[in-house]
């Protein structure tokens, strides 16, 4: 049996939320514990908890202080978080098509240059990765993936861009990500996917869940354009692989 796990830090986020912090850094083991605690609280609801939000290293637990106070909830969470991490049942594995480089990934050449490799090698390395959705946040569907190989770790841009396209696939720091909506970003843009991780009036509205596995597969610009039309009409375009 696993040894007793270290207790997380219970940090106050105001009077109605607790940040349950498992690590100060981006840490795969900590992220697994975040997701495990999230599952535990979903399976064994604690009265007063209204919503949970997994992030890389912590679980944000929203609660109603009329129902339960900070100290009581904190103690319960610490106890639940020290249970051995149960294996995630039925992990979903997605294959997400990406058109790399050119107008769709304007930073590909520059990133390759600064890593002293070729754009083709950069794409091959990015495609080879087996990623996990560590968290979804910032804007709807923005999926942060862990598992980026060390060679591709890069500081973020000095000057964040105000507007980057919907479906952008980018790298920043030790992470890679799938951005759903057009918006600001300080990451390096490698390509685009037609996959909408968030689309209103589609079932499901949100495609990816924290904990899902993701692989990328390169497609050409023509295929991207076709997939983009289909995806706008509610097709999922991403492929669910047999696990």
């Amino acid at each position: 049996m696993a040894a007793t796990l270290s207790p997380p830090r219970i940090l106050p986020s105001g009077d109605s939320a607790i940040t349950v912090e498992f690590s100060h850094n981006i840490d795969d083991a900590a992220n697994q514990r975040v997701l495990a605690l999230d599952r535990t609280l979903a399976n064994e609801p604690v009265a007063g908890i209204t919503e949970t939000v997994p992030t890389y290293r912590s679980l944000l637990v929203h609660y109603d202080p009329v129902v339960i106070d900070f100290d009581t909830l904190g103690e319960q969470i610490v106890a639940l978080a020290q249970r051995p991490v149960p294996p995630a049942s039925k992990t979903r594995r997605w294959r997400i098509p990406v058109v790399y480089g050119g107008e769709h990934g304007v930073d590909l050449e520059d990133v390759a240059k600064s890593l002293q490799t070729t754009p083709d090698d950069l794409v091959a390395r990015h495609v080879a990765g087996d990623y996990r959705v560590a968290m979804i946040g910032f804007t709807p569907g923005w999926s942060y993936l862990s598992g980026l190989e060390k060679f591709l770790h890069m500081p973020r841009r000095q000057n964040p861009r105000l507007l980057t396209p919907a479906g952008t696939i980018s790298i920043g720091g030790v992470q890679t990500g799938v951005q759903c909506l057009a918006g600001p970003s300080g990451w390096h843009l490698l390509g685009r996917t037609a996959v909408r991780t968030y689309l209103l009036h589609r079932d499901p509205i949100f495609l990816l869940e924290p904990g899902d596995r993701v692989k990328f597969s390169p497609v050409d610009a023509k295929t991207f354009a076709e997939q983009d039309r289909a995806a706008a009409n509610g097709e999922i375009v991403a492929e669910l692989m047999a696990s």
């Binding site: 940090l11 106050p12 986020s13 105001g14 009077d15 109605s16 939320a17 940040t19 912090e21 100060h24 850094n25 981006i26 999230d38 209204t50 919503e51 949970t52 939000v53 997994p54 992030t55 890389y56 290293r57 912590s58 679980l59 944000l60 929203h62 202080p65 009329v66 106070d69 900070f70 100290d71 968290m135 979804i136 946040g137 910032f138 804007t139 709807p140 569907g141 923005w142 942060y144 973020r156 000057n159 964040p160 861009r161 105000l162 920043g172 720091g173 759903c180 909506l181 918006g183 600001p184 970003s185 300080g186 968030y198 209103l200 509205i205 949100f206 924290p210």
Partner: protein, 350 residues
């Protein structure tokens, strides 16, 4: 069905309610009213549930016209001049617009947001149980964007219920109370003391995502990059330039700047109403005190139906006259608030 037509309206005005909860794990922020108590008061006056959808009206003036029948509405929040066909009406009361009549509202006085609730609510298609506008996510109904002149809100024909006023406790003009954390350990004692001892002002580049503060530079102990974690309404994050930003209902669901403190729930609405340029302070309180205040605030919200009073003509006229007189002379700093788009620095993740 009758409808309320937006005749004129300024920026930062949109349909809001109690917010959209349960999808922050997908990056979807709750949105919802900036001042929940004022929303609840307006809705209670209009005979609606406390957090039904209503019109959140920003600092500028607005006018609304009833069409295809009478419409009963109620106004609460920051005071502003209000009249129907030249008759002055008071804040914190309900009122009925006959078919074709127009309610004209002036600038916000001493605050930022007012709420116009409509009896019977606003017809729309809820998403995650809410009509609240979240323009960036394309959410909100009947219009997934701030309101514009010409917009039409469908509602029920006025019931003829006698008008009411609501007695709200006076607003205390004290400091905004906070609890430290979750990342106050990223700041030294000096920075924390400076945060509490300084006068702050809200920058004109504030919006429903966040209020940027003007004051001294709050220095980090170990730099300004932390691994992104979750945010709440009232999180006070300190980016690289040392100028704190208080996160509001349209915030990103996660952020990568250290959060020195968090506004207590009971003070969020009062903080949202702080006019640009007005000096204010923060005060740190214990978790026990903050949660005690949160429970009192929840009790106040529950008590709103018991605070309704019949409107005597005398009351209404005195109130309305007082409002009308003040309206003529007061032009507060809020009028100059510009509501610009936030910069890339504030928006970029991590």
């Amino acid at each position: 069905m009758s409808k309320l037509v937006v005749s004129t309206i300024g920026p930062a005005s949109s349909v809001q309610d109690g917010g959209r909860h349960g999808a922050q794990r997908y990056g979807l922020t709750p949105s919802g009213a900036m001042d929940p108590l004022a929303l609840a008061a307006a809705n209670t006056l209009a005979g609606n549930t406390a957090f039904a959808a209503a019109i959140e009206i920003g600092p500028f003036g607005a006018a609304f016209t009833a069409r295809e029948g009478a419409v009963r509405v109620a106004l609460s929040g920051t005071p502003r001049s209000a009249d129907i066909a030249g008759r002055a009406v008071a804040s914190d009361t309900s009122m009925t617009l006959s078919d074709g009549e127009t309610l004209t509202l002036g600038f916000a006085r001493g605050g930022a947001f007012s709420y116009l609730a409509i009896e019977g609510g606003i017809a729309g298609e809820p998403m995650f149980g809410s009509l609240a506008v979240n323009a960036r996510a394309g959410l909100g109904s009947p219009y997934p964007r701030p309101l514009q002149a010409g917009d039409e809100l469908q509602t029920q024909i006025a019931s003829g219920t006698p008008e009411r006023r609501i007695e709200l406790p006076p607003i205390v003009d004290g400091p905004i109370r906070v609890v430290w954390g979750p990342q106050d350990d990223e700041f030294g004692e000096e920075a924390k003391a400076l945060f509490l001892e300084s006068e702050w002002k809200i920058s004109a580049t504030s919006d429903r995502m966040g209020y940027r503060l003007e004051g001294p530079v709050i220095k980090h102990l170990h730099g300004h990059n932390i691994v992104s974690d979750g945010t709440v309404n009232g999180s006070i994050q300190v980016p690289g330039n040392g100028a704190p930003i208080v996160l509001m209902p349209d915030r990103g669901t996660s952020g990568g700047y250290p959060k020195i403190a968090t506004s207590i729930t009971a003070d969020l609405g009062r903080f949202a109403q702080t006019p640009a340029g007005k000096a204010f302070r923060f005060k740190a309180v214990s978790m026990a005190d903050a949660q005690g205040e949160a429970r009192k605030f929840a009790k106040l919200l529950r008590s709103l139906p018991d605070r309704l009073r019949a409107v005597e003509n005398f009351d209404l006229n005195i109130e309305a006259l007082r409002d009308a007189n003040v309206a003529g002379s007061a032009v507060s700093a809020i009028d100059a608030r510009t509501w610009q788009a936030p910069s890339a620095d504030a928006l970029a993740q991590d």
